[in-house]
């Protein structure tokens, strides 16, 4: 199934029933997320992983995306100040 379908259906329903949704969405999202992360861990456990490589890759992505964002924020946003 395309990922957009549940997203768009959810967004439309959320807009339509803005004030009628009484369910605690945060709690529901937290439970779903914990289960999803568990299943993700199961899938990752089935393949060989080098923990150091994984750490280096994650850290590199985090640092470079942050620095890139900051650079463009200063470049584009600095003119508006």
């Amino acid at each position: 199934m395309n990922i957009f379908i549940p997203l768009v259906i959810g967004a439309i329903l959320g807009c339509l029933f803005k004030n009628k949704i009484k369910v605690d969405l945060n709690r529901l999202m937290s439970v779903t997320l914990l289960m999803l992360v568990f299943f993700m861990g199961v899938e990752a456990g089935k393949v060989e992983i080098n923990a150091i490589n994984l750490f280096v890759a994650s850290f590199t992505f985090a640092v470079l995306t942050m620095l890139g964002s900051l650079f463009f924020a200063v470049l584009l946003g600095g003119r508006l100040r």
Partner: protein, 193 residues
């Protein structure tokens, strides 16, 4: 912070189950993913506030745009440094710190890139908490918000407000809100390229 520990514990327990047992969960992963995406959509539709965008003017659009361009270019650079295919690198960086969305979306296609997507975006959140207070010593505080990506509307907002001041609240919230609306669409588009 407690929830963050629960998330990491879930990942670790799942990893142990996958590595040391032969238990099969069938299509539960996909069901959970679609349920999570549906709830995210529901929450987005429910909480979109256009009046807050109007208050900020151009900065409301420029700052998230800078974060999108900067994150994607940062991801591109990481793909060259780490020798990771560009599609996956852009997918990882398009999470903008939203680890709970990026990890599962990427894991649909590749377990390894799913875990990298998860950890990279989780690291971005943690580094924002650690470095926002330092970054604003050199960089204007509203521009430094960009390092937090989507997390600036929830998990890193308290740190940003504590160190950047109350006047930064709306900028940070709207920045995170716009990126939160973009990420669920941008990641699948990149993955389908």
């Amino acid at each position: 912070m407690i929830f963050l520990h629960l998330v990491l514990a879930s990942l670790f327990i799942g990893f142990l189950v996958g590595k040391y047992t032969t238990v099969q969960f069938g299509s539960l992963y996909e069901i959970m993913l679609y349920l999570l995406i549906f709830i995210i959509g529901l929450d987005l539709g429910r909480s979109t506030r256009t009046e807050e965008l109007k208050k900020l003017g151009k900065m409301a659009l420029i700052l998230p745009l800078a974060t999108v361009i900067g994150s994607l270019l940062g991801g591109l650079l990481a793909s060259f440094l780490l020798n990771i295919p560009i599609k996956w690198a852009l997918g990882i960086s398009a999470g903008f710190g939203w680890y709970s969305l990026t990890g599962p979306l990427l894991a649909q296609y590749s377990a390894i890139y799913g875990v990298i997507g998860f950890l990279a975006n989780l690291t971005r959140e943690i580094l924002t908490i650690l470095f926002y207070p330092l970054a604003i010593k050199k960089i204007p505080k509203e521009l430094a918000v960009s390092i937090g990506g989507t997390t600036t509307m929830d998990s890193t907002l308290p740190i940003i407000v504590k160190f950047g001041g109350k006047e930064i609240t709306i900028v940070a919230f709207v920045h995170g809100l716009i990126l939160t609306a973009i990420a669920p669409f941008l990641i699948p588009i990149i993955l389908q390229l």
